[in-house]
């Protein structure tokens, strides 16, 4: 659809309202519960192990451009980098987008400074590896092997190169944790990584890791939004089923109108 209609005003309006409301109430000090996400607990372990072994880590923010997914990947990177800086370990961040590259570099520098070790920050660890999908993949494969990384994290948009990266990481014996909103690549990460974050656990990751009230509130708001969608679908299914049984023309007309509104 080119422009919003009533369906958009109601549905997106409700979702935005719920998310903002939950953020505000969380900021006001309401305690919120978040279920366990096992793969994310493994991040600390991977960082600790890499420090013990004296080998670096690798974090790939995916091959997406400067978009919402990459921003979320950078938020996760921020958490990992401050862990790494605390342990005085190393993390190599190969990037494919110049803007993602600059933000990653700034985040890394800040994290080392905040942990009192600005001299431990090495600018060469944040890499820009061209904008080409498979040139990027070949570069990451090279880094995985040459640096003998002890842990690899893949968070962001991944496509066909997902399996190339994670299989090579597997070969060098790295602990690997991955998460991507590209659902078709999830099975390949599951097959070759130790932990895989599935679906929108990817967007829950920064809230889970930082326990920041704003993010926790947003996450609960997202749950309510999904509940709205679910209720809407259950109602639609009930109506469609009722229609097959009774054949009321009014139900048919209503369903047709809703479908038209939702499809623009």
């Amino acid at each position: 659809m080119q422009h919003a209609n009533l369906a958009v005003y109601i549905l997106e309006g409700a979702m935005v309202f719920l998310i903002l409301y939950k953020i505000l109430s969380a900021r006001a000090g309401r305690r919120l519960f978040i279920r366990r996400i096992p793969g994310l607990s493994a991040i600390d372990e991977a960082v600790g192990r890499a420090t013990e072994m004296g080998r670096p880590l690798l974090f790939s923010p995916g091959i997406g451009g400067f978009n919402v997914v990459s921003l979320q990947a950078l938020a996760i990177l921020g958490h990992i980098i401050s862990l790494v800086a605390k342990y005085r370990s190393r993390v190599i961040v190969p990037t494919i987008d110049p803007l993602v590259y600059t933000i990653a570099e700034e985040a890394a520098r800040d994290a080392y400074e905040a942990n009192g070790a600005p001299e431990a920050f090495n600018r060469d660890d944040i890499l820009y590896l061209t904008g080409d999908q498979f040139a990027y993949a070949s570069g990451v494969v090279g880094v995985l092997h040459r640096e003998k990384v002890a842990g690899a994290f893949y968070f962001g948009d991944f496509f066909a190169e997902a399996l190339i990266l994670s299989e090579n990481g597997q070969q060098v014996g790295a602990i690997q944790v991955a998460g991507t909103p590209q659902v078709t690549q999830v099975p390949f990460f599951i097959a070759s990584c130790d932990y895989t974050i599935i679906g929108d656990e990817f967007y829950a990751a920064s809230a889970y890791l930082s326990r920041e009230p704003t993010l926790l509130g947003s996450l609960v708001g997202q749950d309510y939004s999904k509940a709205i969608l679910l209720v809407l679908m259950v109602l639609g299914i009930a109506a469609a089923t009722w229609l097959t049984i009774t054949g009321f023309p009014s139900i048919e007309a209503a369903l047709l109108r809703i479908t038209t509104a939702f499809n623009g």
Binding site: I34, T102, S138, R146, D223, I237, I245, E252
Partner: protein
């Protein structure tokens, strides 16, 4: 110079085929292990791709959208974008790094403002597409209005579709504890369905990926192969046999296979914690 030029131009097809074949072998060598040839190919690859990136940024973006309107059509105001672009480079300044954040913030704003339209266009149709009837039409006497001829098979499939959809969505509720009584069954059922779907995605991708490999083999055998002299084929075949022989007969350190079977493939013991993932 002239001779080189005319040689290249005359033999450019053969040169392209040879360069392509060498690059192909260099990349495939990484399957055995990371080695200097792969490393060289990787660096050349990144170099070529960056070079092409620079050239394409000019020829596809800056020239048609910026230089031509500005210089060719007198739209002088495009010069302002230079200042905006220059703001990125302030990230290297200690005191004025915030200027780069200003332009970054602007770019982020543009991306996020468009998210509302993207959401409506991507996910709204999915909502209505899920309005599926789950009762076969044979159960009642009169004419069906929508979905005429909904047979038992389709009705059952629809029912399964909806169960999968609901349980999978339930798995992704974060503010409800999965250990709670109401959620335990639903969420774990959702996870089972997820794994089943992942298997299907994996299985349906194999064919497309194999076709890519067949494509490379086809390139090597039908395009590059015919221009390769016979003696080279034979030498290469001999070398390959030798290499395989060496690999099979290579001295191996004695290992206690029965005690630590996972060691050879995965030097680091995987963090085996229940429920994290399937492998």
């Amino acid at each position: 110079m002239h001779q080189l030029a005319s040689f290249i131009e005359q033999h450019s097809t053969a040169v392209i085929l040879w360069v392509g074949a060498i690059c192909t072998f260099a990349i495939y060598s990484v399957l055995y292990k990371e080695n200097p040839y792969y490393r060289l190919a990787e660096h050349i690859f990144i170099g070529l791709a960056s070079g092409l990136g620079i050239y394409m940024t000019w020829s596809d973006v800056l020239k048609p959208k910026w230089w031509d309107p500005m210089v060719g059509k007198g739209q002088w105001w495009w010069a302002f974008t230079v200042a905006a672009g220059a703001m990125f480079y302030f990230m290297y300044s200690k005191r004025n790094a915030w200027i780069s954040r200003l332009i970054m913030g602007g770019m982020m704003g543009m991306g996020t403002g468009a998210a509302f339209q993207a959401f409506a266009n991507t996910y709204f149709p999915m909502v209505t597409a899920s309005f599926k009837a789950v009762v076969p039409t044979v159960l009642k006497a009169h004419i069906p209005r929508t979905e005429p001829g909904l047979g038992i098979d389709l009705a059952l499939s629809n029912l399964l579709f909806i169960i999968v959809l609901i349980t999978v969505m339930a798995y992704f509720f974060f503010s409800i504890d999965h250990r709670s009584r109401s959620m335990r069954g639903t969420a774990s059922l959702g996870r089972w369905f997820l794994m089943f779907a992942f298997g299907a995605m994996f299985g349906s991708t194999v064919m497309a990926r194999m076709a890519l490999f067949i494509g490379r083999l086809d390139y090597l055998t039908t395009e590059w192969g015919p221009i390769v002299p016979l003696w080279l084929w034979m030498a290469a075949g001999g070398l390959l046999l030798l290499a395989i022989g060496f690999f099979l007969l290579r001295p191996r350190p004695p290992k206690k296979l029965d005690e630590q079977p996972a060691e050879e493939v995965v030097p680091v013991e995987p963090v085996a914690e229940g429920g994290a993932q399937a492998s």
